[in-house]
């Protein structure tokens, strides 16, 4: 499989407050052949340049939304980005076929543990269930929705080693996406991409 052009769109409104997200983003920036963009740094006043964002999308094959899981969704600016950039006639609707065939996934940090995202946990729904709005967005745009990369319990990562492991995993998944080794065929059945990296051959 030929190499895929990967784009990481990072959204955290107060990145100084999140060690894990800072580290993960730095890891993404270190992977060769991966484009990264810090949305809050690019658009501090929320004035998203829709045309240039669309052009950026066209230049990539895999889109990664990296963000903390705020109220079971993305921070405001990433939502704004979706509302404005995924336009009718571009991403969906009549003649809206420009994103067809591309892949989309979320790279998420959560406060809660993996167990909390289950019928028995206090979040009741699973991550995949909670991410269905993103999944359906991808479907409507004719994109392939891949399982998410999830770092659970980010706030409890007191040991640097844990954070480093997560960052390392993230870099390996991004590299796998770039090299075409992480696809629906290889990873489609996973709950999250970083559940078992060896199974993916990473």
């Amino acid at each position: 499989m030929q190499s895929q052009r990967v784009l990481v769109l990072f959204a955290h409104p107060a990145v100084q407050k999140s060690r894990v997200n800072r580290r993960l983003f730095a890891a993404a920036q270190s992977v060769p052949g991966v484009t990264t963009l810090d949305l809050y740094q690019e658009y501090p006043d929320f004035q998203i340049d829709v045309r240039s964002e669309q052009a950026r999308l066209l230049e990539h094959d895999v889109i990664v939304f990296q963000h903390p899981f705020y109220w079971y969704s993305s921070p405001a600016l990433l939502k704004e980005w979706q509302d404005l950039v995924l336009e009718y006639g571009f991403a969906y609707g009549r003649n809206g076929t420009r994103l067809r065939g591309k892949a989309l996934l979320n790279a998420i940090t959560t406060g809660g543990s993996e167990e909390a995202y289950a019928r028995t946990g206090h979040n009741y729904f699973t991550m995949r269930e909670l991410l269905t709005p993103f999944e359906q967005t991808a479907r409507l745009c004719g994109m392939v929705y891949l399982p998410p990369f999830v770092v659970h319990g980010a706030i409890r990562m007191t040991h640097t080693a844990e954070v480093e492991r997560a960052a390392d995993d993230y870099a390996r998944v991004l590299a796998g996406l770039r090299d075409g080794r992480v696809t629906t065929e290889t990873a489609g059945s996973f709950d999250r991409l970083n559940a078992d990296l060896t199974a993916l051959g990473l």
């Binding site: 740094q41 501090p44 705020y70 406060g111 809660g112 206090h122």
Partner: protein
């Protein structure tokens, strides 16, 4: 006291106006009727304060009509005039011809022959520009279909005076007189050439000469010099037109139209307006004083009958033509009422006719009285129309109102001051398709802005007349963006006083200036450097490594706190501010500002983004 002194006359006329017009207005009669009654009262038949001189005064005051036409011209873009051409020549031509023929027919039936009645008909076809336009303007009806049709006809009548003057001698009882001695020396083609040349000169001067000249004058920043120049312009044009035998009013009108697109338009309007008002008032007073009640007393039946006949015939012709030209019924009636009187030109034409043996004085003298009385009737006809005729239409049509055809731009925003600050405001509004009328006192500035295609007018916004001319009565928002701090506050007070409906948005130089606005109830003030200082500060924070969105929020939070504290401090300042010198105020303001800065706490508004305390896993 010598009753013939100029001061005494001025006193009488002014006192008459000042006393009678407010009373007339209060009684709902309009200013024109007030002036007329004042004239009757001070005239030879009641108080006898002004006698022989009222004729001279009337002659002098007729210049008010010239000024009025100049102002009407200023309001009229050439394109609007071009759209009026059908009414001007069709309606106007038929009105003059129709009235003349109707009078002639009556004369024929009465066995007076055809010549004299035709001459009388031509003379009586003229209507009074002064009475009709003033009454229409006062009621805001000039822009309605009926009003603009009236205006077109009046304009045509002005044009037709020249051919009528040429035609009258041929209608003489004894065909002796040579056609018009004044122009006998010139062959007709030369005269025509002169007329065309003069009009071209006015147009060319208006296009290419006047703007640079006014700019020079504006640079002297002497207000009275601008007024003098404006008057000079009107007087000069009138003089030129009289030289070539055209009506001065017509010339002034042409000059006005040529200048309708000039950036000095509002300033010219504001300068000429008071003179026009005074002179027209004087004119109406002198018409009132000149009404010959002696003749009326000796032959009351005849005079009254003739007045009624004149008004009825003119009204009938006008109404017929109005309907023929498809004016809606209420407009056709307004049109007919406003032009049913005799005009100023009738006086001129009557004396001309007597001189050329077209009419005997025994006919002309009663006609002068009839024309004057019919003029006096105009305001009453307007009252009749308003009180009893128009309400019927309204009832039939259910309050349907014709669309106003507005000549002046009806912009919702007026921006005073178009320098560094105001022009950004104007451009933002323009980019969002909001029209603004802009006033600026810097002639060079105005020039540059206009070259860039913006509607900018030269003028001192603290002049009430200029605010009126700029459409302050119809606008919604007034932006004060002028440099001069004291003038800005003065302007705010002026606008608050005279246009309380306008919402004021003011540029404040600094804190103390902002206090001044707040103490006057202007709450929408904007310190001119605050926005850019905060932008710069935020960028410095970002350059030092603070996440861009954080610096953005920090600047916004700072701004919100600062605005709140400013408004608090302004209240303190209001209490005892008057005791401090300006310098001390500045220092105090700065000190208290630093104190509140130190006491401020930021960052309590984004705790939602904090990681949840370890061990508590509620929420994703």
């Amino acid at each position: 006291m010598h009753t013939d002194s100029m001061l005494f006359h001025a006193f009488v006329y002014l006192a008459a106006a000042v006393v009678s017009v407010p009373i007339a207005k209060r009684l709902g009669m309009g200013s024109v009727l007030g002036y007329l009654l004042a004239g009757v009262v001070i005239g030879p038949h009641v108080l006898g304060l002004v006698g022989q001189r009222s004729g001279d005064v009337m002659h002098f005051a007729e210049f008010g009509v010239v000024m009025m036409l100049f102002l009407v011209g200023l309001e009229l873009q050439p394109s609007v005039l071009w759209r009026m051409r059908g009414h001007l020549f069709g309606l106007g031509g038929l009105q003059v011809a129709g009235t003349a023929l109707a009078v002639m027919a009556i004369g024929l039936i009465a066995g007076l022959g055809s010549r004299m009645p035709l001459a009388i008909g031509l003379i009586l076809a003229m209507s009074s520009t002064a009475f009709a336009l003033q009454s229409l303007q006062e009621r805001g009806k000039l822009a309605t279909p009926g009003g603009s049709a009236s205006f077109a006809v009046l304009l045509f009548q002005d044009l037709s005076v020249i051919p009528v003057l040429a035609l009258l001698p041929f209608l003489a009882q004894t065909a002796v007189a040579a056609p018009s001695e004044t122009q006998a020396a010139q062959p007709g083609w030369l005269h025509a050439l002169l007329v065309i040349g003069a009009v071209c000169a006015v147009v060319a001067a208006g296009r290419y000469l006047l703007n640079p000249v006014f700019r020079l004058i504006a640079k002297t920043e002497l207000r009275e010099l601008f007024t003098a120049a404006a008057l000079l312009l009107v007087v000069g044009v009138s003089l030129l037109m009289q030289l070539v035998g055209l009506s001065a009013a017509l010339g002034a009108f042409v000059a006005g139209v040529v200048l309708a697109n000039s950036e000095y338009r509002h300033e010219l309007e504001a300068d000429i307006e008071p003179f026009k008002g005074l002179l027209l008032g004087l004119f109406f007073i002198s018409v009132g004083a000149a009404i010959d009640f002696g003749l009326f007393r000796s032959q009351p039946g005849l005079i009254a009958g003739l007045v009624v006949a004149l008004v009825v015939v003119k009204f009938a012709v006008l109404l017929l033509l109005g309907r023929l030209f498809r004016l809606p019924a209420p407009d056709a009636v307004l049109f007919s009422f406003s032009l049913a009187q005799g005009g100023e030109f009738a006086f001129v034409l009557l004396s001309f006719a007597v001189n050329h043996q077209v009419l005997p004085t025994s006919v002309a003298d009663p006609l002068v009285a009839v024309v004057a009385l019919s003029m006096a009737l105009t305001p009453l006809l307007f009252l009749v129309n308003e009180r009893w005729v128009q309400p019927r239409f309204a009832r039939v049509r259910g309050e349907q109102r014709p669309q106003d055809e507005v000549h002046s731009e009806d912009n919702p925003v007026i921006i005073a001051g178009f320098g560094r600050f105001g022009h950004v405001v104007g451009r933002l509004l323009r980019a969002n398709h909001v029209g603004s009328t802009v006033l600026d006192l810097d002639a060079q500035h105005v020039d540059v802005m206009r070259r860039l295609g913006m509607k900018v007018f030269y003028g001192d916004a603290t002049r009430l007349e200029l605010l009126h001319a700029a459409g302050a009565a119809k606008a919604k928002i007034f932006v004060i963006a002028i440099d001069n701090e004291e003038k800005a506050v003065e302007l705010a007070e002026l606008v608050q006083k005279h246009f309380p409906h306008l919402k004021i948005y003011a540029r404040a130089a600094g804190r103390v200036h902002a206090y001044e606005f707040q103490s006057r109830g202007v709450m929408s003030f904007y310190r001119e450097t605050l926005g850019s200082s905060l932008d710069l500060g935020a960028d410095v924070l970002t350059a030092l490594g603070m996440p861009a969105h954080q610096s953005h929020r920090a600047a916004l939070a700072f701004k919100r706190h600062d605005e709140a504290s400013l408004r608090e401090l302004a209240k303190l300042w209001e209490d005892d501010g008057a005791y401090f010198t300006k310098l001390r105020q500045d220092i105090e303001a700065f000190e208290s500002m630093l104190e509140t800065d130190a006491a401020r706490t930021y960052g309590d508004s984004d705790r939602g983004w904090d990681p949840i305390p370890a061990g508590d896993e509620s929420r994703g």
